[in-house]
């Protein structure tokens, strides 16, 4: 009888620990309506990519950097790449065409909104940056810095479809956590 009770208590304790641990490991998902921003980019994709003069170099897709990101690192990489675009890429690009400027503004402001939406995750310490995530971000920054600023900016803008697709895939509410 005593042994049964002890074993039951042990099982309960293990379950409790597991649930606490699982809560800590739970992904921080920011569900966004990506449709509009994806459409905005589709409209200017050709014009932007046509301006990219270094066709055989990539900034985001080195050895499929983004595809290798594990679920646990999604929040950190999202945070880092949003900052990459908002603080660096959009600022380094000077756009004169009003049509393209409108769409780039739409995407930049959306990224700003997404950064704000991620803040609660950071405050709850659910956006921890592990080594793999930090390495991936560093590779992207290094690729960018190897090119001349304007070329790097236009190339990064041209690769927005890669980043948007990755965001869409990893930040869906109904994807497995």
């Amino acid at each position: 009888m005593k042994a049964q009770r002890v074993s039951l208590l042990l099982v309960a304790a293990v379950l409790l620990l597991c649930s606490v641990h699982a809560r800590g490991l739970r992904r921080c998902l920011v569900s966004m309506d990506m449709r509009h921003v994806v459409e905005s980019f589709q409209e200017i994709k050709k014009a932007i990519q046509a301006k990219d003069t270094f066709q055989n170099v990539t900034i985001l897709s080195t050895s499929e950097t983004l595809h290798r990101i594990k679920p646990l690192d999604v929040c950190c990489v999202t945070k880092n790449l949003l900052a990459f675009y908002v603080d660096k890429v959009f600022k380094d690009h000077q756009e004169l065409n009003p049509q393209i400027l409108r769409k780039l503004s739409s995407i930049a402001n959306f990224f700003l909104y997404m950064q704000k939406a991620l803040q609660p995750c950071q405050e709850q310490r659910q956006c921890h940056c592990r080594e793999e995530a930090t390495n991936a971000t560093r590779i992207i920054h290094d690729n960018y810095d190897q090119l001349e600023v304007r070329s790097a900016a236009i190339k990064s803008l041209g690769e927005l479809d890669v980043f948007l697709a990755w965001l869409d895939k990893n930040h869906q509410e109904n994807s497995a956590a």
Partner: protein, 310 residues
């Protein structure tokens, strides 16, 4: 006699005079005709449709055109000199502008308007405070609840691609469970449930806008009822009685019609009573022998006018 210096002085004086003469009209124009900037900028936003309005500039003369520009929070933080011309209102005539296509992110937007008349341009008038589309007023959506036989069908108002609908429906009886269905399709009828006869079902709906993470209030509940099984029975009984009646009435009326037709085309002539010979003809002429001749004569004489009459 004029020396060179006096000549120069005169020239200088006249130049100065002309200079001032040309300045005076310019001063006058500047003082009176600066185009005023548009005032009272405000945004009315309902169901994610945003309308910027302002007081029109009333200055007589040529038509006044307005230019609207916007700046998202990104631009205001990182490149504050960048203002983007509005998609539909650069320029526009009316003192209003549909900025729905410009406000494409859920961040505060700065908006500014200025007026132009001919070559004159007013100063910029900026909206204070900046507009964020998450302050839009969401109204309960319109819905059309119908029954297609036993199927409960609902058709929803088309509010655009940013809207999702949450449809709540339940059976109107105590303790009934409320079902919720998320509808993303627009404009097409949606099947909710197959109803049981005799029961009433109620539906209410609200919208959800993912871009601003907000719900509208629920609409008023609308209820429909499906007729119970008793009615079909009553209908069957009624039908049976009607059928029996028809079985009786139709042959009767056919027979009646037949008789009527016979009468109309081939009528049976009925002798009036006065001409009816109830007894044998000999009896009518009940004359005595002596009077036979007289009777015959009388008969003959009575026949003649009859013959002449024929």
């Amino acid at each position: 006699i004029q020396t060179p210096s006096t000549v120069l002085e005169e020239i200088l004086a006249s130049l100065i005079m002309w200079f001032f003469y040309t300045l005076i009209p310019c001063l006058l124009i500047d003082g009176v005709a600066i185009l005023p900037a548009p005032q009272n900028l405000s945004v009315q936003s309902t169901n994610m449709k945003h309308l910027l309005t302002w007081s029109p500039v009333m200055v007589p003369g040529e038509i006044i055109y307005y230019f609207v520009e916007y700046q998202g929070e990104y631009e205001s933080l990182y490149m504050s000199h960048v203002w983007i011309p509005s998609s539909w209102c650069s320029p526009t005539k009316g003192p209003e502008c549909d900025i729905t296509d410009d406000i494409t992110a859920t961040v505060p937007y700065n908006l500014r308007v200025r007026a132009t008349q001919g070559s004159e341009t007013s100063a910029w008038s900026t909206l204070k405070p900046p507009f964020n589309r998450n302050s839009t007023i969401l109204t309960p959506p319109g819905m059309d609840v119908t029954k297609d036989g036993f199927h409960l069908v609902i058709k929803l108002e088309d509010l655009g691609s940013q809207f999702e609908f949450l449809v709540a429906y339940w059976r109107r009886e105590p303790g009934a469970k409320e079902h919720v269905k998320v509808v993303r399709s627009r404009g097409i009828p949606v099947h909710l449930e197959t109803m049981e006869p005799g029961a009433a079902y109620c539906v209410k709906v609200q919208t959800f806008v993912k871009a601003i993470r907000r719900h509208s209030p629920f609409s008023q509940a609308e209820c429909v009822k499906v007729q119970g099984e008793t009615l079909p029975l009553a209908l069957a009984l009624f039908g049976f009685v009607g059928f029996m009646l028809i079985l009786v009435v139709v042959p009767l009326s056919i027979w009646k019609m037949g008789r009527l037709l016979r009468h109309s085309c081939c009528p049976v002539v009925v002798l009036p009573d006065t001409l009816k010979i109830t007894n044998s003809p000999q009896k009518l002429i009940s004359c005595r022998r002596e009077e036979v001749e007289a009777c015959v004569t009388a008969m003959l004489s009575s026949e003649e006018p009859f013959r002449t009459w024929i």
